[in-house]
Symmetry: C2
Subunit: 418 residues, 2 copies
């Protein structure tokens, strides 16, 4: 299969050798993990096997696969068109040098890794997509997609930079254009009924994730932050119905743990809310450092976290216009990415979430060279200070070079928390 | 006057001490400068004196002054409202540390200096404006204006990121909103007649600058690149009618030089086209290095160059809608900034200009951490190579730390040109 996808098998083998070791060290070493994690362990263990094979099988029967890089891109449209949506953001240093061949060094590792994954031919998801849906969320991505477009079939959605009434109209028109593009790709007409079903399907995924996140509000937290992060990362790739049922199954187990006051953390573990840039699979570095330094990650105000699952698409309305309005409202109004100006709602989100999840402290995590989150950190750290919530700002990338320094800084921060 | 503007006089004195020395070294040291440069020398010599005093005088009579940072913002609207438009981009390292107090280090020096100029209270232009018109040209600026807005009255124009038909409509609406905002500020109604007059006034400025640039197409170039750069920089600040007449007066002198085949450069000097990020006053570093290393800068494909003056606003049409369409067409359609995706027209511009100005080579100049131009450099350098035009990519900032390295690299590049 990998040969058919035009993969570089030799380099890919190198990647496949590294991942199990890393996963073992970070994940399998944890004590008292819920049994329901077995499914997610399996997905990661065979991340370049099982799911890509399903997608290729689907394509053989005439199905189309659409990849995307940003939680503003509405998967509902893809699903309603009878296609499969898959996330493409890359979280491994393995792909960064490949991206640096075509992009400035001063580009965030997520973007560099995404281009490297394609150009180095070592990620099956980046080989098999029939369409790559990029967007204009930040300067780095906007310009990177121009380079990717020379090698892959790209479609660009233009995300508004503000949230005025006219920007909602603009985003609604972008969604309408996207519907046309997906109809063209699949040959299927997107109908009120197929769009509504897709909304329900993906809302169910969000509800399951939110159910999972709610366990992290408990005093006795029955699941680690690392495990919840992994599940959010897998949410971007997995079949949504199967994923939802596996998350709910895990939550049933956590319900039991809840009645028994089971916690995976020792008493006195400090509760850390993470905010900032996305953590794509297999980027587990900061979670691992926090959770081996006396902390528990109890919420991610991130694209790979609350921003992905907290807000639902309204399920009311029956006409296409009403359904598109619902998507517009959710995908523009309820995602408070630093790409917007101004973006005060994100600060409100962080403070609200810190209270809901009873955070002892916040870590504002920035991927190196992410200019929008780095700049917004000025407000985040100032407003948290005003609100009396301890906050530590850190900047990192996909390498392990700063791991020791981060351990020292994060360890000192956690120790200092009351 | 400076005290009234809330300036920090002590720090400002330090700045005023440095500039004459730098100007003397870079400018007054040149041989055989046209007499018409005397006016522009005077403007620079008293850059924080004469013009700010004029603006303050205008304000005392009830006039309003509007500052802006980007050549996408249509000065015609400000002028038609009876206000004065002034450029605000900052080109001195003096202001960078002040900007770094509130912005990430990995922000381009132009943005850092602009915020530093305001917060350090050492630039009268940044103190006296009644309105600061920011825009969303890049992530760095977009987020920086949020910080500036806490201290200064800001208005934001949202520049489209693409150039599809709907983006022209969007930009036209942004211009309409800007008209309303300027009317609100000045209390003056902007009419067909006042807008048309403003279009003519600013077109005349552009025509004078283009007349000046045309002398650089000659084999015997009668004016240095440094001097032309300075004039473009002053174009952003000076009274447009006076400026136009002084540029035309200089051009009359250059006409005489033309008939006499006078050149300010030695035979064999290599003709360099510069492309890339803007060079705000007093950023003369790269021009100075090129023109003291055997090269002549013969064109700037930059905001402080051809992008500012080459395209005119159409003067046909009499209704507001027609005039706004003319502005939209010029300010969106004819500025090929790297903020757009895709932006192939810029590559066409560079290749066309290299031919028109008979460039021996192109230097692609990027201000550090300008992600959009840095990324687009991938295409610029590749396509110039394909076109057989030698190209050197350099990255620099406002410090002098890299001057020796740049001299070596630029010197070697010029020597290598056939």
């Amino acid at each position: 299969m990998w040969e058919d996808l035009g993969m570089n098998l030799q380099t890919h083998d190198m990647l496949c050798e590294v991942l199990p070791q890393a996963f073992g060290d970070v994940y399998l070493s944890q004590d008292n993990r819920p049994d329901g994690m077995d499914y997610f362990n399996m997905v990661v263990a065979d991340i370049h096997g099982i799911r890509p094979a399903e997608l290729v099988e689907f394509q053989k029967k005439g199905g189309k696969v659409v990849g995307s890089f940003c939680i503003h891109v509405p998967d509902e449209v893809v699903v309603a068109g009878g296609a499969i949506a898959t996330g493409l953001c890359s979280g491994s240093q393995f792909w960064v040098p490949g991206g640096e061949k075509v992009l400035p060094t001063a580009t965030c590792p997520l973007i560099k890794a995404s281009l490297g994954a394609r150009f180095d031919k070592t990620c099956p998801f980046f080989r098999l997509c029939d369409l790559f849906t990029g967007e204009t969320a930040c300067d780095g991505k906007k310009k990177a997609w121009e380079i990717l477009a020379e090698d892959a079939p790209m479609y660009i959605m233009d995300i508004p930079q503000m949230k005025r009434p006219e920007d909602y109209t603009k985003w609604s028109n972008e969604i309408k254009n996207y519907i046309k593009r997906i109809e063209e790709l699949t040959g299927n007409k997107i109908t009120e009924s197929s769009l509504k079903s897709a909304i329900v399907l993906l809302n169910n995924k969000r509800k399951a994730l939110q159910r999972l996140n709610n366990f992290r509000k408990l005093e006795h937290i029955p699941i680690s932050g690392k495990d919840v992060l992994l599940i959010h990362q897998i949410a971007f790739y997995d079949d949504p119905a199967r994923f939802t049922s596996m998350v709910n199954k895990l939550c049933d187990e956590l319900d039991k743990r809840k009645t028994e006051d089971v916690s995976v953390f020792k008493k006195g573990t400090k509760r850390i809310l993470l905010t900032g840039t996305p953590l794509s699979i297999p980027n587990w570095k900061v979670h691992h450092i926090i959770e081996t330094s006396g902390g528990a990650v109890i919420c991610e105000e991130m694209c790979t976290g609350i921003r992905y699952c907290e807000a639902l698409v309204k399920e009311t309305g029956n006409t296409m216009d009403e359904l598109i309005d619902n998507l517009t409202e959710r995908y523009l109004g309820h995602i408070n990415c630093a790409c917007f100006t101004p973006n005060k709602s994100r600060i409100e989100d962080i403070i609200r979430l810190a209270k809901e999840y009873k955070a002892d402290g916040v870590i504002d995590l920035n991927l190196k060279f992410c200019s929008i989150y780095d700049s917004e950190g000025y407000f985040v750290e100032r407003e948290l200070q005003k609100a009396g919530i301890p906050c530590l700002g850190i900047e990192t990338d996909y390498t392990d070079e700063d791991a020791e320094q981060l351990k020292t800084r994060i360890g000192a921060f956690i120790e200092m928390l009351a």
